[in-house]
């Protein structure tokens, strides 16, 4: 396949440049998505509606976790590289995770399943294991349903395992932040409203710290696995790998929730959070690296003709379609962190404009190219 043909194939396969349209009355996934969001919103009103007494804790929790969201969004924005997903699609994922998955699905499902474990195994068994045996099923699947619906809403945009990874992370982040606010409220209610601000700060510190390796991570891994199972991008169907990846996300969720049971209440309990977090982070980067392969090849195909034309240098192509080590190598070559970043951003702009134009020449493509040439 020559450079131009490969470029056009990459645009078609990746769906890059296709805008995300949320309102789709002919699409049943749109109505199911709205049902989930409506059900979740109704549950939120019911849950917090009569909680005027706990307003200080609730307000403190909302403010603290809204601030907590900022570094997360900046981090995920940086990860949304290669054929980047539109903001509207990611926002829809976040909203599903926060409103529908948390309040419409997880709240009633967890309540029931926790009680089932206590009935089946006794209260001592439930105390040790019920949380870890419930949440990986109810919460991971509840969040993943958002990804399934977004595939229905944007079938051309949600293609690769990397798409599943990024959208999954946003769904998980939504779940995490809304669940954290719920924890703040429950913490205040548990103490009957004594020292509400102190309680909300305490929950913020504990949940905020553990949140680094929590829902966003689980759902990113689960989402990548689901897309490997579905195999929506050419050559990406890996059912066994996908199932194992989804199972790994659920196992991490289990280990995190049942740390006390796993540690047996002994000294291991102190070490376990750090050990589990380390394993989770290594697994996360391994999945990310594997999931990005298809996207990186699309990026190379998108910019291939620009390399042939001498606009993009091979070193810049390696960096913009590569991994961290490729970007670092490029930075050393150009002897400037700032210039390296600008060149990478400009090359990304050019790739995006080429995709939007469907591979044709437009004034915006010419402008993006001129900008890159200006910086080179």
């Amino acid at each position: 396949m020559n450079g131009k043909a490969a470029q056009l194939a990459a645009i078609e396969e990746s769906g890059w440049g296709v805008p995300f349209r949320f309102t789709q009355p002919h699409n049943l996934a749109f109505w199911v998505y709205l049902l989930g969001l409506g059900g979740g919103a109704l549950a939120i009103v019911r849950y917090f509606g009569t909680s005027g007494f706990y307003a200080p804790a609730l307000t403190g929790g909302v403010l603290l976790f809204a601030l907590y969201l900022v570094p997360w969004l900046l981090l995920l924005r940086r990860q949304n590289r290669y054929t980047a997903q539109p903001g509207g699609l990611l926002a829809a994922g976040f909203a599903w995770g926060g409103v529908a998955a948390t309040f419409w699905i997880a709240l009633p499902a967890n309540t029931a399943l926790l009680e089932i474990w206590a009935k089946v195994g006794g209260t001592a068994f439930a105390g040790d294991w019920a949380a870890g045996l419930s949440a990986p099923i109810t919460e991971e699947w509840g969040k993943a349903l958002g990804l399934v619906l977004l595939i229905g809403l944007a079938p051309r945009l949600v293609r690769s395992a990397y798409d599943g990874f990024i959208i999954g992370a946003f769904i998980g982040l939504g779940f995490q932040v809304f669940e954290d606010v719920l924890y703040v409220y429950n913490g205040a209610a548990q103490t009957f409203g004594a020292n509400q601000l102190g309680t909300s700060l305490q929950v913020f510190l504990v949940r905020g710290a553990s949140g680094v390796v929590s829902h966003a991570l689980f759902s990113a891994i689960f989402g990548a696995g689901l897309l490997w199972v579905l195999g929506r991008a050419r050559g990406e169907r890996r059912v066994v790998l996908g199932v194992l990846t989804m199972a790994m996300a659920m196992a991490f969720h289990f280990a995190w929730d049942d740390m006390t049971g796993l540690g047996g209440g002994g000294p291991l309990t102190v070490v376990l959070p750090f050990a589990i977090a380390a394993v989770e982070l290594v697994a996360l980067f391994a999945v990310l690296r594997r999931a990005a392969r298809r996207e990186r090849s699309w990026m190379r195909d998108l910019l291939g003709p620009e390399v042939d034309a001498g606009v993009v240098t091979p070193a810049l192509l390696d960096a913009v379609s590569g991994l961290r080590k490729d970007r670092e190598k490029f930075r050393k070559q150009v002897h400037s962190r700032r210039r390296s970043r600008h060149l990478l951003d400009a090359a990304g702009d050019l790739a995006r404009e080429i995709s939007r134009a469907g591979g044709t020449e437009t004034a915006r493509v010419a402008h993006a190219r001129a900008e890159l040439e200006r910086l080179t």
């Binding site: 349209r21 009355p25 002919h26 699409n27 049943l28 996934a29 749109f30 109505w31 199911v32 049902l35 989930g36 059900g39 007494f53 706990y54 419409w104 699905i105 009633p108 499902a109 309540t111 029931a112 399943l113 009680e115 089932i116 206590a118 009935k119 089946v120 006794g122 209260t123 001592a124 439930a126 105390g127 040790d128 109810t138 699947w141 509840g142 349903l145 399934v148 619906l149 595939i151 229905g152 209610a189 548990q190 103490t191 009957f192 409203g193 004594a194 047996g264 209440g265």
Partner: protein
């Protein structure tokens, strides 16, 4: 414009049939989680009956003797691998028409002030409250008791301040019965309250 155009062979009731697979898959799984699990829970009966000799773990060495024959729905017995925490304690005992809930909370004030805090947090519920009294357990722990009755049934709240220097928890015992059922359980509730023993003072 053409994005909205559904080819005639794919139309069903104004919808695009090609979108049914992801939508119905997601809806089906969601409904199983939301309604299927609670239905399964409702179908499974409790089999966690309190037997003679069982002792409830209230954390920090504190204990209570639950009424024989009631179902232990939440909480642990002494001797099990899991140990209860006095500041996050949640115990539920239930029998036909009555429940006993125990909640352990970190609280620095007195038992009386703790009961005030509980009442403030719950606002005004319809019903008639009796005057506050006191109750002393067999181990000498004194608590504040508030009885009440309303359209939903009878209620008894008892607050204790457990003398443990490191955690200083407050313990709330809440008894709820269906209307006119309290008398049936009075002896069991009284025996239960009298059995509450604080852990060793530190």
């Amino acid at each position: 414009m053409t994005d909205d155009w559904v080819p005639v062979e794919h139309r069903f009731a104004g919808l695009d049939r090609r979108t049914f697979k992801p939508a119905l898959t997601a809806l089906g799984v969601a409904l199983v989680l939301i309604y299927g699990l609670p239905a399964l829970d409702a179908a499974i009966p409790w089999h966690n009956e309190v037997e003679a000799g069982d002792v409830l773990d209230l954390g920090g060495g504190a204990t209570a003797v639950p009424p024989v024959g009631w179902q232990l729905e939440s909480g642990t017995l002494t001797g099990s691998a899991v140990t209860a925490s006095p500041t996050t304690l949640q115990v539920t005992l239930a029998t036909g028409g009555a429940t006993i809930d125990l909640r352990g909370v970190p609280y620095t004030g007195s038992a009386d002030a703790f009961l005030d805090q509980v009442e403030r947090s719950e606002g005004d519920a319809p019903g008639v409250d009796a005057a506050r009294g006191s109750v002393t357990t067999a181990a000498g722990l004194t608590g504040v008791v508030q009885a009440g009755t309303g359209p939903g049934g009878d209620a008894l709240d008892v607050a204790f301040k457990v003398p443990q220097a490191d955690t200083a928890p407050a313990l709330l015992v809440r008894v709820r019965t269906a209307p006119d059922q309290f008398e049936r359980h009075r002896d069991e509730v009284t025996a239960f309250l009298r059995s509450i023993a604080p852990g060793p003072a530190k």
